[in-house]
Amino acid sequence: MTPKTTPMTMIQALRSAMDVMLARDPNVVVYGQDVGFFGGVFRCTEGLQAKYGKSRVFDAPISEGGIVGTAVGMGAYGLRPVVEIQFADYFYPASDQIVSEAARLRYRSAGDFTAPITIRMPCGGGIYGGQTHSQSPEALFTHVCGLRTVMPSNPYDAKGLLIAAIECDDPVIFLEPKRLYNGPFDGHHDKPVVPWSKHPLGEVPEGHYTVPLESASVFRPGSELTVITYGTMVFVSEAAAIETGIDAEIIDLRSIWPLDLDTLVNSVKKTGRCVVVHEATRTSGFGAELTALVQEHCFYHLEAPIERVAGWDTPYPHAQEWAYFPGPARVGAAFKRAMEK
């Protein structure tokens, strides 16, 4: 029997994941700034406090270090905290608790204590958020051994990945591309937004299911070129493929690190050409790691140099947001360069 599905935005899908896990596992707790009575500034936790009570869904002081630090302690006790950092741009005060504590607790205590915590944070730009509401800091997390870093691109994956993250015994950084919360934004900011209700990936099963960690998806099959990307850039890459007429195969990593190497290697070996796309700044971005991996594993199959498309190496500007954002034109130009050589 196929499970019953409902059209959901990514916000509703994330809420549904937390709802399912709060109901299934009495050790799950949800907290962060504004997440309790109000339900979060993006409304991802709306209604959960009323449903599960104040001791399981509650507001936290404006202290990212305190939010993650208490989560580490709760994890050591045996809970599975799901905490929200209001914007990824605000996680920096929690760096010590994430990098030195959550990520290494299992290792340093030889498994005596663990940190089965999920840290949700909205990321990415395209909402005129300026340099403190637009960052994509995933590379800072992938550099830390012991963390899992995840970024969904659609409601179906968002719910399945969040449930998998909560059930995972490792600490998971769960990055939510906020420009995708309400629809599959493809980078054409001057056109009306298509809502998730008009997209097949907005059909989300109501109950429990998981999208396994460390599994990429072939978002769009193709034969001429492999695009390795994640988050907002999945739909931008799709638009670029349609607009250039290049038959690009788009790999949505979903789990950024540890990743599903086989899926991307098999695709590049098949197409012989590769473009790596992300919204985060270019230098030492995760694209550098992806480029190195493709070079290590697919060098003799490559027909052309690997192309990288990323945000410029500047802070995320406010008024010049669309000049910064790697939209379909920049991505499409990279596709063409990769095909010419």
Partner: protein
């Protein structure tokens, strides 16, 4: 022409330096027995005086006096004395082993033994401590922690329960209520509050105990912990061990001058005490008071334990470079072992002969444990955990990239 003189930056200095005695009047000691003992359901703001006074039970002649002098079972006191002696003997032997290069590093708690030992004996089984690296007394006070295993950790040998991944003294004993030691200072303080919040969420009866030194109270995690503990009335004891020195940094640089670390708590709405940390009876009584508050849902208590770091910060430190070499001899709160011994003898529950016999017995116990641990290897003789284990426990299940890296290493 300005009416003001140029502004000047003030940088605190200790009164004592090498060749110059410390003026310990900065400690503002209260006489033993003089500080009141409020009921456990007292309002945090009503503890303001207690954050500036000093709770003391043992007077200079070894008598237990005042409202904090509980009718403590002499059996428990003898157990405490033995555990403090064991801790000091353990430290002394491990220091020698470090100098013999059997281990890379060591940290002793000389002069501070009463705090961890009396605290451990005042908590209940199942309570969880989030210690710093100077609370080995929490483990050595317990009957259920094997000294041989502790020494294997120090020696980083093949039976090291931390699998060779941690510096010596960074123990982890979940079953003994001892959280994994980080080495990054202050991080455990807020984690303890989280553990306590979890206990409250689950309707548990166990409480948490957080530990930090005077120096690390300057970290954000300390202040964050106070806020969270107050906001959620977390069942946690917030211990600040003020041993006057953070490596070479005098406690005034952490903000102790003209105020106290206990005073931080009152400002945050937390009941706070400043206690003689070298007075076993005071430590035990204050811990019981704070634990009772926590267990009755009355919220957190901050306790500043005033003591003195008698030894170097670690085996990599030489305190004669920055403080008077004989400073501890002049520290007005004395030696916790000598003080409890005097008290026990005064009440007829101990004698010099018993003390001498206990010293010999404990020395033999520690020596035997060390000998057994060394038979499983030391850092220098190659009997360590295999390099292949380096790749384990990064994640619960080893991801593909770590399998590949392990193959590359060829193990």
């Amino acid at each position: 022409m300005t009416q003001y003189e140029p502004l000047r930056l003030y940088v605190p200095e200790p009164t004592g330096r090498p060749g110059r005695h410390t003026d310990f009047s900065y400690l503002h000691l209260s006489p033993a027995g003089e500080v009141r003992r409020p009921p456990v359901d007292t309002q945090p703001a009503d503890t303001n005086d207690l954050a500036y006074e000093l709770v003391r039970v043992l007077d200079d002649t070894g008598r237990a006096v005042g409202p904090w002098a509980a009718a403590t079972d002499p059996q428990l006191l003898r157990r405490g004395l033995r555990a403090m002696m064991k801790t000091r003997i353990f430290d002394a032997r491990m220091l020698i082993a470090q100098r013999q290069k059997k281990m890379s590093f060591y940290m002793q708690c000389l002069g501070e033994e009463a705090i961890a030992v009396a605290h451990a004996l005042a908590l209940d089984s199942g309570d969880m401590c989030f210690p710093t690296y100077r609370q080995q007394g929490l483990l050595l006070a317990r009957e259920d922690v094997d000294m041989v295993e502790m020494i294997c950790q120090l020696l980083s040998n093949e039976r090291d329960p931390m699998k060779g991944r941690q510096l010596p003294v960074m123990y982890s004993y979940k079953r003994a209520g001892f959280f994994s030691i980080s080495g990054n200072l202050a991080t455990q303080f807020i984690q303890a509050v989280g553990w306590a919040m979890a206990a409250a969420i689950k309707g548990d009866t166990r409480i948490a105990s957080a530990w930090i030194g005077d120096g690390a109270t300057a970290e954000a995690d300390f202040h964050t912990a106070l806020t969270f503990a107050h906001v959620y009335r977390a069942p946690v004891i917030l211990n600040v061990v003020n041993n006057q020195w953070a490596i070479s940094t005098f406690q005034a640089i952490a903000g102790g001058e003209g105020t106290t670390f206990a005073a931080r708590g009152v400002g945050c709405g937390i009941a706070s005490l400043r206690v003689d940390g070298n007075d076993f009876l005071a430590v035990h009584a204050a811990t019981r008071w704070a634990a009772e508050r926590a267990r009755r849902n009355l919220g957190p208590t901050l306790i500043e334990w005033v003591t003195y770091r008698a030894g170097p910060h670690s085996t990599s430190d030489d305190p004669s470079k920055y403080r008077p070499a004989d400073d501890w001899a002049h520290f007005p709160l004395g030696d916790p072992i000598a003080r409890l011994k005097t008290h026990l003898i005064a009440i007829g529950a101990w004698s010099e002969q018993e003390h001498e016999a206990a010293q010999k017995e404990l020395e033999a116990q520690v020596a035997a444990a060390q000998k057994q641990a060394e038979s499983y290897g030391t850092l220098t003789d190659g009997h360590m955990r295999s390099a292949a284990e380096m790749f384990e426990d990064v994640y619960k299940d080893m991801p593909e990239h770590l399998r590949r890296q392990r193959q590359q290493l060829g193990v």
